[in-house]
């Protein structure tokens, strides 16, 4: 065992102050990635600043044509929310299939997107639904939030407070899960909104990405058949023991077609 300071804060300002004072501090949301990493000694922060006591960060509400989800809202709460299920069923469906029940009852939307794991599910929702990420400093468009593998637009000391999702006309998320971890080998969110069609892919590349060729085809005809013949280049996709880049490229097409069919 090695020691670190544990601090449970009750406000965002308190968290920012604690982080500023710490030598090598780390914010903890649900801890579903951070704690296993610390147990493996792959990270040893001097201070752990636990956000779970910040009540203002949790909760789901509808504001006009948007669903606003607090950063510390657990996946299980998003999956079970009547508000989310009626307005954006694709989002509730996505949240209900993250990891396992333990992860869904601890993990949070803010923690997931701040970590920006290339195979996490929520990035596909943030980009695919054209969400806005709210922080203690500003608002960041979903399209600008993820900047690379485990990289986001967040600055040091910047804390996500909420994510707001515009309600789409229709949307669906389909993933090919790794059978052990349930991480997305490939996951695709397809959404039709007033502003056009969005197709966002997670799991396949170093970071979530959109597929403009599919979006253009679906804007003309929102049907799985419209995607026939549209492929994604394997060049920059991930290869690991579970799937090659070529296999992932193929899965993008399959998952996208299934998502369009599921969106109806």
């Amino acid at each position: 065992m090695y020691s670190f300071n544990y601090r449970r804060v009750s406000s965002v300002d308190e968290a920012v102050a604690a982080l500023g004072k710490a030598e090598d501090g780390k914010l903890m949301a649900g801890g579903m990635t951070l704690l296993p990493t610390m147990k493996q000694r792959l990270a040893q922060p001097s201070d752990l600043i636990d956000l779970s006591g910040v009540g203002a960060l949790a909760g789901i509400k509808r504001e006009g044509n948007r669903i606003v989800i607090g950063a510390m809202t657990r996946h299980a709460d998003v999956a079970d929310s009547a508000e989310v299920r009626s307005a954006i069923p694709a989002l509730a469906h996505l949240a209900g299939r993250i990891g396992d029940p333990q992860v869904r009852n601890r993990g949070t939307i803010g923690g997931s997107i701040a970590n920006a794991d290339p195979a996490a599910d929520y990035p596909a929702a943030v980009v695919g639904l054209g969400a806005t990420v709210h922080t203690n400093q500003r608002e960041i468009a979903g399209d600008d939030f993820f900047t690379g593998m485990f990289d986001t637009a967040l600055e040091d000391g910047e804390i996500i407070t909420a994510v707001s999702f515009p309600v789409p006309e229709k949307a669906a998320y389909v993933k090919f899960p790794n059978p052990a971890s349930r991480y997305a080998v490939v996951g695709v969110m397809v959404a039709r909104t007033g502003g056009g069609v969005r197709v966002a892919v997670t799991g396949a590349g170093p970071s979530v990405f959109r597929v403009p060729a599919m979006e253009a085809a679906l804007a003309k005809s929102f049907s799985a058949a419209a995607l026939d013949g549209i492929t994604v280049a394997a060049d920059d996709l991930n290869t690991d023991i579970h799937a090659s880049a070529e296999y992932r490229a193929h899965l993008v097409g399959v998952m996208a077609a299934r998502a369009v069919a599921a969106a109806g």
Partner: protein, 152 residues
């Protein structure tokens, strides 16, 4: 696992070759490199801090330059130990080809990781390695291309 890449560097080949053998340039370009010291002619000791997502580990590594073929290229071999985190080792064949006033740098790298890094990070190793290689050569491009040759 093998990764390859190609960068156009706006500097003549001689200059690029010198930079590839300059520990100070290497220190600036290796992501998270805290220090690098020459141990023997073509052997360097480096201390690095790797930060990828939640993982933050300190590595000490030995970097050896072999197959020296000035100014056409060399093989850079690195072996890093991260204490409880595990180890990583890799080598990259680097070749330089003049293109007028510019130089095309190509690399073909092979990488292996072991220990806990490999156990829990296997699905991320390829992506992380590519990111590190691209960061290194991208920075190298910036450092070498943006500098006037030192007046020796």
């Amino acid at each position: 696992m093998e990764i390859t890449g190609e960068f156009a560097i706006p500097a003549p080949r001689e200059r690029v070759w010198e930079a590839l053998n300059d520990p100070e340039v290497l220190r600036q370009c290796i992501p998270g490199c805290e220090s690098i010291e020459r141990e023997a002619d073509n052997v360097f000791n480096a201390a690095m801090r790797a930060k990828i997502g939640p993982v933050k580990a300190r590595f000490t590594s030995v970097v050896t330059l072999t197959n020296l073929d000035p100014p056409n290229g060399y093989t850079i071999v690195g072996e890093g130990k991260g204490g409880p985190a595990g180890f990583g080792k890799g080598s990259a064949d680097v070749t330089l080809e003049p293109q007028g006033d510019e130089t095309t740098l190509r690399y073909r790298a092979e990488l292996q990781v072991g220990g806990k890094l490999a156990q829990i990070g296997s699905r991320l190793v390829a992506g992380a390695a590519r990111k590190i290689a691209d960061d290194f050569f991208g920075k190298f491009q910036e450092v070498v291309g943006g500098e006037t040759p030192p007046s020796a």
